[in-house]
Symmetry: C2
Subunit: 354 residues, 2 copies
Amino acid sequence: MSNNKLKTVRIVGSGLIGTSIGLGLVQRGVSVDMVDSDPQAQSLANDLIGGVGVASPDLVVLAMPTTQLPAVIEVENLLNPQSTFIDVGSVKHEVVLHVESISGLSRRFLPTHPMAGREIGGASSARADLFQGRSWILTPGTEVDSSSRELVLELIAHLGATPIELSALDHDRAVARISHLPQIASSLIAKQLTGTPPEWMELAGQGLRDTTRIAGSDESLWKEIIYSNRNELQQLLINLQNDVQLMIDSLGNPDEIAQLIAQGRAGKALIPGKHGGKAREYFYLPIVIDDKPGQLGAIFNECAAMDVNVEDLNIEHSPGQLSALITLALSQSDAEKLSTHLTSIGWNVHPIRK
Amino acid sequence: MSNNKLKTVRIVGSGLIGTSIGLGLVQRGVSVDMVDSDPQAQSLANDLIGGVGVASPDLVVLAMPTTQLPAVIEVENLLNPQSTFIDVGSVKHEVVLHVESISGLSRRFLPTHPMAGREIGGASSARADLFQGRSWILTPGTEVDSSSRELVLELIAHLGATPIELSALDHDRAVARISHLPQIASSLIAKQLTGTPPEWMELAGQGLRDTTRIAGSDESLWKEIIYSNRNELQQLLINLQNDVQLMIDSLGNPDEIAQLIAQGRAGKALIPGKHGGKAREYFYLPIVIDDKPGQLGAIFNECAAMDVNVEDLNIEHSPGQLSALITLALSQSDAEKLSTHLTSIGWNVHPIRK
């Protein structure tokens, strides 16, 4: 990048996202000033990333809870009347409306949403590469200046993310369906476990574990996201509730139950596979191993020796036993090749399942 | 086992479970006769496991859909009036009631439920070790003969499973909560994806994938399970529906939203970790790798060299990029040791997250 225009950035908010952006930009030679309403947090964040004082920044990043955003936009716009702005919140429609209500700001303000994991918080968890290979959604209005857009695209490129443009409304609808509703449902499933005797919980399998994994998320983050996207979520929750009612009404009729389960299977099939491509047909190769160091390494050595690419892996442990079942997800040809090879050298491989 | 009493077993039903039991027993020297209402399936299953004709079997295994069970029990009890019986269905209360209605049968009939994966079906998917290290639940009535109980425990031991005794009612309540309700919820979440534009689906992350994994299950199996356990499921579904309503009512109030998410987190914390023990506190070590053969093997080699035990692993692929983020779950000391080591030899390791 010989024509870098992004020289100075002011980041307001020193949580995980703000500090990670700061770390990544400093590594790419951009001068960054971390700002926080808490002076101690501000000083810590600047120490952490090597922040410097910046006057008239090219770009201001607003990285704080969405409920605080309107007040901060007001102040920061007065302080930096020439700067380009982005926010990084998980919900976009309200931000767009607010920005459009401030004269001239929508030319310089791009609402954005980096799709990076946020299940942990705080500056100390920040990583310069948090956004590498992730999507970074932009929901700009029609009035945005091309110079502002270029600065924002430069920031995203610096951080290794892929820009994707959507309307704010489409963004909010999309994340409500693929992220916020699953979060709520996972939390509510996990809530049903309240009071379950420990001896019943011992019977829990991988299905329960997968379904409730994100129920471990932080409520202080999610209360903001869900609240901000409540308009999109309301109808989705009503739809879910209606489908729960349909299942209740179908409990006495196996064919109606089957229909609901089949509709779920069809919905799941819409989720694309890795690399943003279509869902691949993986073949699954179960292997029983001793649950001790060295076993996985030995298997992956064989994979490398056979030029086999492992697409995914699941490790399942048996209660009260020191063996484990690992399942490798592979292409059909890799699965056949590896199964034959591992079996021939004595591994406990089981028939390939599609 | 010098005092083996289990010499001959008749298995009625040649699906995954029945054929897997047959395979495992034959490997332990037991004579097995596979029986199926479909003569071709019966012949195939006997060929597959090395089945033989068996008269007056010590034990009869009933391995067919629960809706067919009452009629089959009737016939098999007339054919084998001295034999011990088990069934292997996922729901137990109805079976117990039915067995108790047949004079003298409850002395010889133990309802059981092997907790083995059944997301795929058919004799061709059968594995002799399907039950190894799994729990095998028994829900015997009070009248059961000790000689019958011993035969069943011998069968379970042959197959490498761990017997666990529960009342039929407790069993059905437990699996409704930890298995059947999560299955229904996962299917209904996935159903909400119906009609979502492909470009929105491209934004799907690991949370959606985990939450909907079991929505890929087979509806012909699950319609039976859900139907059979409808009495236990009804109240759980009503509870879930009430909680969805609570969330709808809370959408305008961030603190109420937070409370529901926090209750979900508390419920999830009740799920025990591997080996049937309490949930462990894992440390998560994220590593960015090239998505090509050899990378995982090299990392697991280092794990083995450092005597580090990988508890679990997640592979996350970035859309449109040929790099992958793998996250290893480790004990704290292993995580620290491995992080230092991998960093020192040039791997792209990121700060340890708890």
